[in-house]
């Protein structure tokens, strides 16, 4: 066998572990506690996740990165892949597995997408790592629901809870949008679209049932093909629906599932129709992809308060944020901060490096008021009891809050 230069290449896989091993030469001390965040850091959600990560970092800085004897280390992981421009199951799985493998990881902040949460929850649940999501809202992740009788138990193979979130769920957010359309905009006929994802389809269904309860006419609930580049043909069809075009369209989906294009094609095709979208589109990238003419035509619901409307500790946070990062925080910055504050408070209370103890302390969070959004608790499912929603319109390329609504109490199942 002759030696050829490329045989050297075969050594590369061996070289990787060792070079990496050396980059880890500055070994962590034994008293390090790692908080991981797994958010889509590539692609169109980056604007929002940037501010979330900033919020998390600010919370850790407030403790000077130290709690008791423990050093807090923050790792900012990406669950998106550049080639798809949004979260992928592969990346989220890898992040969760990496967190499980790293014995120093105690808290997992994230993910951003409900579909991603469904992927990583069982993995982290088995390892007993607490998850605090600043953004996922799908109902089935924490609550029994009619669509899938096995939810949420399939996400909890260990039988214990490990997933919490600081934003209210879609069974509140969907009906809020319906209420806004019926009571504030005084519209009668709605058409529902969804992106066929866990989050989008779920919230569209919640919206539909909420709308029917309020007496709105729901002309249809249809899923769009996200792979399509434009929805001109679909909008033409909607415009020609029996009984005339709808007054309002509700799109259950995200910016990544072409919310912007839906807005653009609706404005182009159906005059005098408004679009209401959920918090998955509450980001600058949505406006960038939706084009012009959105004023008074597109409304976004969001399960929380706009930074400009916060008071007290929230206002102080916003000011500190502006001072530190020289920009206005996007809405989710507060929730990244809140999630990290909850985690840090639990670590402080437990003062042990023990996944189970910290997980239990986080789930037992009651009347929490150290953060920026007032006082709230986690309920028995790990959901927040905070229920304020903000509805914003788009003016001059920015979201401007127009209305704050208190979440309806969820109807008894």
């Amino acid at each position: 066998m002759r030696f050829r230069w490329f045989h050297l290449l075969l050594v590369i896989p061996f070289a990787f572990p060792f070079s990496a091993g050396c980059s880890g030469c500055n070994k962590r001390e034994a008293n390090t506690i790692v908080i991981v965040s797994s958010l889509p850091r590539t692609g169109s959600a980056k604007g929002q996740t940037d501010t979330m990560v900033n919020g998390i970092k600010m919370a850790i800085d407030e403790y000077d990165g130290k709690i008791g004897d423990f050093k807090i280390l923050f790792q900012d992981k990406d669950d998106a892949e550049a080639s798809s421009g949004q979260w992928t199951a592969a990346a989220e799985t890898a992040n969760a597995n990496a967190a499980v493998n790293d014995k120093d990881v105690m808290v997992y902040i994230g993910p951003y997408n409900s579909g991603a949460a469904a992927v990583s929850m069982p993995i982290l649940n088995k390892a007993g790592i607490a998850m605090i999501s600043p953004a996922t809202t799908a109902t089935g992740l924490t609550k029994k629901n009619a669509d899938n009788k096995d939810e949420p138990d399939i996400y909890r193979p260990s039988g214990k809870l490990n997933f919490t979130r600081v934003v209210p769920t879609d069974d509140l957010q969907g009906p809020i949008a319906a209420r806004f359309i019926a009571e504030e905009l005084k519209k009668k006929r709605v058409y529902v679209l969804n992106d066929n994802e866990r989050y989008g389809e779920g919230i569209a269904k919640e919206f539909e049932s909420g709308a029917r309860k309020l007496g709105l006419t729901v002309i249809g609930n249809e899923k769009i093909n996200v792979a399509q580049q434009e929805f001109g043909a679909l909008m033409t069809k909607i415009k020609n629906s029996e009984g005339g075009p709808p007054d309002a369209i509700y799109f259950g989906g995200t910016t990544q599932s072409k919310g912007g294009q839906v807005a653009k094609d609706m404005i182009k095709t159906i005059p005098n129709c408004v679009l209401v979208v959920p918090d998955g589109c509450y980001e600058k990238a949505f406006i960038d992809s939706a084009g012009a003419g959105l004023e008074g035509k597109v409304f976004v619901t969001f399960g929380g308060q706009d930074p400009t409307r916060l008071t007290g500790a929230g206002k102080a946070f916003v000011e500190k944020y502006k001072e530190k990062y020289k920009t206005d925080p996007e809405a989710y910055a507060v929730y990244g901060y809140e999630a990290a504050k909850v985690a840090l408070a639990a670590i402080k209370k437990v003062n042990k490096k023990d996944r189970d103890a910290i997980r239990e302390a986080i789930l037992a969070t009651k009347n929490f008021s150290d953060g920026a959004i007032g006082t709230w608790s986690f309920d028995q499912n790990g959901d927040t009891t905070a229920q304020i929603f903000t509805i914003s319109e788009i003016k001059n390329g920015n979201f401007v809050p127009v209305k704050e609504l208190n979440g309806l109490k969820p109807s008894a199942p």
């Binding site: 075969l10 199951a89 890898a94 597995n97 469904a118 088995k126 996400y155 994802e197």
Partner: protein, 344 residues
């Protein structure tokens, strides 16, 4: 006794490495060990494509679709939503044979197409499969996928005797399971290549007309290759479902890009040499899934504010593309070419 061939050595070295790897303190070096399992699964997938592309010479651009079908069948058989709820062994076998059957059925009508047309049809077929997986969501789970797949490993063994539910699906148990299956597939395909069927496949690749003139039936041979390749890919898909404990979202996981990335790995390693294929996967996917992550992480750790302008993962398609172009230009037979005399 003849000395072992070069590819036998290469394959042996690789397997030895893979057996030892989980024993090293990977976590301390910052290597997510579970990603190694994915490498093994992708290796099986690549071996499946190699039967079609390397041995038989059919340019197939939709292998990821079979991966997806296998994944989905396993999901259907093991999810708690449907009444099947079989154990993994049964689900795996049904996935492999079911996918092979799909490969057979879909191969039949397109056999008389050659070269570019076959490539196009397989590509289109891949798109159709994604649509079907997405749209029949009552069965496949669609975009929302089937979740929480924790079947028992073997029949007749009650839960609990093998540790807690889903324990066997974690590292390193599942890693060694995949490694064992990879070894079986590797050796099995080796036997296949040396068999009458395998020689027939090579004959079809080298010259279809001549093979037909020699009394072989090219159509039947091609069909066998498509079915075997699809079956192996289905097996890999089944393992993938168990690894993730869900059937992954089809649009991102089983799309055309994945078919091409696997193709790139095969071409890098060496078409039709099994050891070469494995090396190709380990190099390319090891770089993509593990090394680039580690490099990105350390770049991030090194940057003062945690924001880095340069991230290797933003360049991954470029790297795959350059590998394809470069290999085609300078070394079309791959790093470890097959030894069997091929004169082109």
């Amino acid at each position: 006794m003849t000395p072992p061939s070069r590819s036998a050595i290469a394959g042996g070295v690789l397997f030895a490495m893979l057996v030892v790897l989980p024993q090293l303190p990977l976590a301390e070096w910052g290597i997510p060990a579970n990603l190694l399992t994915e490498l093994l699964i992708l290796s099986i997938l690549a071996l499946g494509l190699n039967v079609i592309l390397g041995t038989t010479g059919l340019l197939h651009l939709g292998i990821a679709a079979f991966y997806g079908i296998g994944c989905c069948i396993t999901g259907i058989l093991t999810t708690s939503i449907f009444p099947f709820q079989t154990n993994f062994l049964v689900a795996m076998m049904v996935s492999a044979f079911g996918t092979a059957l799909v490969g057979l059925i879909l191969g039949a009508p397109v056999l008389r197409l050659r070269g570019d047309y076959l490539a196009l049809v397989t590509l289109g077929f891949g798109q159709i499969v994604i649509t079907v997986l997405l749209e029949f969501e009552n069965i496949t789970g669609g975009k929302k996928t089937l979740q929480g797949l924790f079947p028992p490993l073997l029949p007749f063994v009650s839960e609990g005797t093998m540790g807690r539910r889903g324990d066997w699906q974690t590292f390193p148990h599942f890693y060694y399971l995949c490694l064992g299956l990879l070894a079986i597939v590797y050796l099995g395909l080796g036997n296949l290549e040396r068999s009458r069927l395998g020689r027939g496949l090579v004959a079809v690749r080298e010259d279809e007309l001549a093979a037909g003139a020699m009394g072989l039936n090219p159509a039947r041979l091609k069909l066998s290759a498509l079915a075997i390749g699809a079956g192996v890919a289905g097996l890999a898909g089944s393992l993938f479902a168990m690894h993730n404990t869900n059937t992954t979202e089809p649009q991102n996981s089983f799309n055309f890009n994945w078919s091409i990335i696997i193709l790139a790995a095969i071409i890098l390693g060496g078409l039709s040499s099994r050891a070469g294929v494995l090396w190709g996967v380990v190099l390319l996917m090891g770089f993509d899934k593990i090394a680039s992550r580690i490099i990105d992480d350390s770049l991030q750790a090194a940057a003062a504010d945690g924001n880095t302008a340069f991230r290797l993962s933003n360049w991954r398609l470029m790297i795959f593309g350059l590998v394809l172009i470069g290999m085609m230009r300078f070394r079309p037979n791959g790093l470890l070419p097959e030894r069997r005399g091929t004169s082109k």
